[in-house]
C-alpha cells in the first residue's frame, strides 16, 4: 500500500498485466513516442505520461506507437483481440471516437453476438474524457452514454486512483470489449493504492458514503463532488448515500434501487449532456421499479445541452458543481408529497 496518483494507478495496472500475460499489448499515438529516435527510452509516454516506461521494459513489439489512424489501429486491436491477443488501445481523447466508431460499435462490440457466441474480444480501449481543463468543445466531452447504449460493450468510469487500478486490471482480464474512461481532471488525485494486482468486478457499485436521508448516484469525477457534498451535509446532520456504479454497462441497478427504497430521495449527477445520459437512464430505472418509494421527484444534475465552452467562466458554470449538487439534495429533502 502506498499513496499513488490516478495516473500511477493506471500505469501500474498496465505494467502488472503486461508482466503477467504476454498477450497484453499496447497501441496508440505516442504511447511511447519518438519512434525511430535513437535509444530505447520513451520520448513521451502518452499524453498523460501513463504509458511512460512501458516501451523500455516491454519493447516496441508490445508497445506500439501508431500513425494518426484511429480506425486502423483500434480496428486492428479489435481484430487482434478476437484472434488471441489482449490489446489495450489508447484513443487519446474520447472525442476522437468520431473517426473510428465503426470499428468499435459495429465490429468489436458485436463479434460475440453476431458470430453466434463463437467469438471472444478481450479488447480494452483506454480514453480520456471530461471537462475542466479549458480544452474546449472537441477535447472535453463525456461521451460514455453513447458507448453505454451499445450492446456488447462494457463501459468503466474509475472515480479515483484505487478504483482505476482495480478496474483496469479487471478490464484487461475481461473477455468482452471494454471502454475505460479516465477523467482528465483526476490524473493528479492521490490516495492509498495497493502495490499488488487486484481486481474490482464490473457491475458492483461502490457505496462511498452511507446515510439514510438521500441517495446520490454519481459517475467518474462527479463521485468526488458527491462525496464532498455528502461530507458537508453530514455537518448539518443530513446523511447521504453516495453510489459510484463504477461501470455504466453493466449497471448495478440493485444497489441503486435498494438505496432509494431506504431513502426515498434521489439525486443523479452526470457530467454527460443531459439528453439520453446516465442520469435519465437511472431516473427511468427508479421511476419504473421504485416509484412507490420516492418521496420527492428525482433530480438530475448535469451540464446544459450545449457543447463544452472554452472560456473559463462558462466552463466552470457548465460543469455540475458541488454547490448545485448540494442545492439539489436540499431540494429533494424539502419536497413534500
Amino acid at each position: 500500500m502506498s499513496r499513488k496518483t490516478y495516473r500511477q494507478a493506471v500505469s501500474e495496472a498496465l505494467r502488472h498485466e503486461m508482466r503477467r500475460d504476454l498477450r497484453v499489448v499496447i497501441m496508440g499515438e505516442d504511447v511511447s513516442g519518438g519512434l525511430g529516435a535513437p535509444g530505447e527510452q520513451d520520448a513521451w509516454g502518452g499524453p498523460q505520461g501513463v504509458t511512460k516506461g512501458l516501451m523500455p521494459e516491454f519493447g516496441r513489439g508490445r508497445v506500439l506507437d501508431t500513425p494518426i489512424s484511429e480506425s486502423a489501429f483500434i480496428g486492428a486491436a479489435a481484430g487482434a483481440a478476437a484472434t488471441g491477443l489482449r490489446p489495450v488501445a489508447e484513443l487519446m481523447f474520447v472525442d476522437f471516437m468520431g473517426v473510428c466508431f465503426d470499428q468499435i460499435f459495429n465490429q468489436a462490440a458485436k463479434f460475440r453476438y453476431m458470430f453466434g457466441g463463437r467469438a471472444v474480444t478481450p479488447l480494452v480501449i483506454r480514453t480520456q474524457y471530461g471537462a475542466g481543463l479549458r480544452a474546449a468543445s472537441q477535447h472535453s466531452q463525456s461521451l460514455y452514454p453513447i458507448f453505454t447504449h451499445i450492446p456488447g460493450l462494457k463501459v468503466v468510469l474509475p472515480s479515483s486512483a484505487y478504483e482505476a487500478k482495480g478496474l483496469l486490471i479487471q478490464a484487461i482480464r475481461d473477455d468482452d470489449p471494454v471502454v475505460f474512461f479516465e477523467h482528465k481532471a483526476l490524473y493528479d488525485d492521490e490516495e492509498e493504492v495497493p502495490d499488488e494486482a487486484y481486481t474490482i468486478p464490473f457491475g458492483e457499485a461502490n457505496l462511498t458514503r452511507e446515510g439514510s436521508d438521500a441517495t446520490i448516484v454519481a459517475f467518474g469525477r462527479m463521485v468526488k463532488f458527491a462525496n464532498q457534498v455528502a461530507d458537508s451535509l453530514e455537518q448539518d446532520g443530513i446523511g447521504c448515500t453516495v453510489i459510484d456504479p463504477r461501470t455504466t454497462s453493466p449497471l448495478d441497478s440493485d444497489a441503486i434501487l435498494d438505496s432509494v427504497a431506504e431513502t426515498g430521495r434521489l439525486v443523479v449527477v452526470d457530467e454527460a449532456s443531459p439528453r439520453c445520459n446516465m442520469a435519465t437512464d437511472i431516473a427511468a430505472l427508479v421511476a419504473e421499479h421504485a416509484f412507490g418509494a420516492l418521496k420527492a421527484p428525482v433530480r438530475m444534475i448535469t451540464p446544459p445541452h450545449t457543447p463544452v465552452p472554452f472560456a473559463p467562466e462558462l466552463e466552470d458554470a457548465y460543469i455540475p458543481s458541488p454547490a448545485r449538487i448540494e442545492e439539489a439534495v436540499r431540494g429533494v429533502l424539502a419536497a413534500k408529497r
Binding site: G33, G36, A136, L314
Partner: protein
C-alpha cells in the same frame, strides 16, 4: 535566388510572417502568465507555409485549418485583437470565448476554423469547393493539415472525393517532420506528396522555408483549381522551432536532437526573406526595422484590446446552440 513577386507583395509576405512569429511569442508569454488557459499549439518556424499559401489565395477563397492554426488565420487576414481576445476567453473574441485556440474561425474572411480533429478540415474543404462549383463561382478552398494527417482515413477519402468530382481544392500538407513526437518517416513509407498520384492529382514537394516557393506552387495549384481542372496536393517541408504545444518547453523531451533544431533554425524563413529583399534592392537598411516596429505596435494594441474585452456572461451560456431555442433545449439540465 531572385524575387519574382512584386515589391508590395514581397513586403506583405515579410510583414505577415513577422506578425505570426511575434503573435506566437505573445501567446507563449500569455500562457506563461496564466492569462491564456488550455492548450495552444504555436507555429513558430512554419510561417512561410501559412503566408505563401494564403497570399496566393483571393479574399473570397476559403481555408480550413488545424490545431496549429494561428499562423493560417493571420496569413488569411485574421484580426489579431479578435484572435487574442478569443485565446483569453473573452466575449470580444472571434468565437465569443466559446472556442479558444483550436477553434478560431472567421467565416467572413473565409477562415473555416482551426480544428481540434486531425484532417477534419479536408472533407470540409471538399464540401466548400463543391458549393463554389455548384454556384458557378471560381473560388477555391485550401486545406491545411500536418504530416501526421496523411495517414488518416479522412485525408484519403477527401483526396479521392476531390479528385473524382474535380473540386477546386488545394491540399496543403505542412510537413514539419513530426506528429507530436512521432517522426513522419517512422509511420509513412513514401514521400508524402506522392500520395497524390494514388488519387490522380498532381502532387509536389516545396521548400516550406521559402515563402516565395510556397507562394508559386500554391498559385499554380490555385490556377488549376479555378480553371476547373481539379485538386492538387502540395507538401511543404518545414519545421516547428518550438514544442508540439506550449507546455512542451518545460518537459525536456528528446525526440529530436538539438543539432536538428539548430540546423533548421538557421534556415528560418523570416530573416532569410528579409535578406533577400535587401539583396534584391527592394529593401533599404531601415525598412525591416520599420516593418517590425509596426508589427510590434499592432500586437501591443491587440493585446491591450483583448485584455479589455469583457468575460462572457453566464446569461449567454445557452446561446448559439441552435438557430432558435425550443422548450427545454438547450436549457435542459440547466434550469
Amino acid at each position: 535566388m531572385t524575387i519574382t513577386v512584386p515589391k508590395p507583395l514581397a513586403e506583405e509576405m515579410y510583414r505577415r510572417m513577422q506578425l505570426i512569429r511575434r503573435f506566437e511569442e505573445w501567446v507563449v508569454k500569455l500562457v506563461e502568465s496564466n492569462e491564456i488557459a488550455g492548450v495552444t499549439h504555436e507555429s513558430v518556424g512554419q510561417e512561410a507555409v501559412a503566408v505563401g499559401v494564403c497570399l496566393a489565395l483571393r479574399d473570397d477563397d476559403v481555408i480550413t485549418s488545424t490545431h496549429r492554426g494561428h499562423g493560417h488565420i493571420i496569413a488569411k487576414g485574421g484580426n489579431v485583437a479578435h484572435m487574442l481576445a478569443e485565446l483569453l476567453g473573452r466575449e470580444g473574441g472571434y468565437n465569443k470565448g466559446r472556442g479558444g485556440s483550436m477553434h478560431i474561425a472567421d467565416m467572413a474572411l473565409g477562415i473555416f476554423g482551426a480544428n481540434g480533429i486531425v484532417t477534419a478540415g479536408c472533407p470540409m474543404a471538399c464540401g466548400t469547393a463543391y458549393a463554389f462549383k455548384r454556384r458557378g463561382q471560381d473560388r477555391v478552398a485550401a486545406s491545411f493539415f500536418g504530416d501526421g494527417g496523411v495517414n488518416h482515413g479522412l485525408f484519403h477519402e477527401a483526396l479521392n472525393l476531390a479528385a473524382i468530382w474535380a473540386l477546386p481544392v488545394v491540399f496543403v500538407c505542412e510537413n514539419n517532420g513530426y506528429a507530436i513526437t512521432t517522426p513522419i518517416a517512422s509511420v509513412t513509407k513514401v514521400e508524402l506528396y506522392t500520395r497524390a498520384a494514388a488519387y490522380g492529382m498532381p502532387g509536389e514537394a516545396v521548400d516550406g522555408m521559402d515563402v516565395q516557393a510556397v507562394y508559386e506552387a500554391t498559385r499554380r495549384a490555385v490556377e488549376r483549381a479555378r480553371a476547373g481542372a481539379g485538386p492538387s496536393l502540395i507538401e511543404c517541408r518545414t519545421y516547428r522551432f518550438v514544442g508540439h504545444y506550449t507546455a512542451e518547453r518545460f518537459m525536456k523531451l528528446d525526440y529530436r536532437s538539438d543539432e536538428e533544431i539548430v540546423a533548421w533554425r538557421k534556415r528560418d524563413a523570416i530573416p532569410a526573406w528579409s535578406k533577400r529583399l535587401g539583396e534584391a534592392g527592394l529593401w533599404r537598411a531601415d525598412d525591416q526595422r520599420r516593418c517590425d516596429a509596426a508589427v510590434e505596435r499592432e500586437l501591443d494594441q491587440a493585446v491591450a484590446i483583448a485584455r479589455q474585452s469583457p468575460w462572457p456572461s453566464a446569461d449567454t451560456a445557452l446561446d448559439h446552440v441552435y438557430a432558435r431555442t425550443y422548450p427545454g433545449l438547450p436549457a435542459q439540465g440547466f434550469e
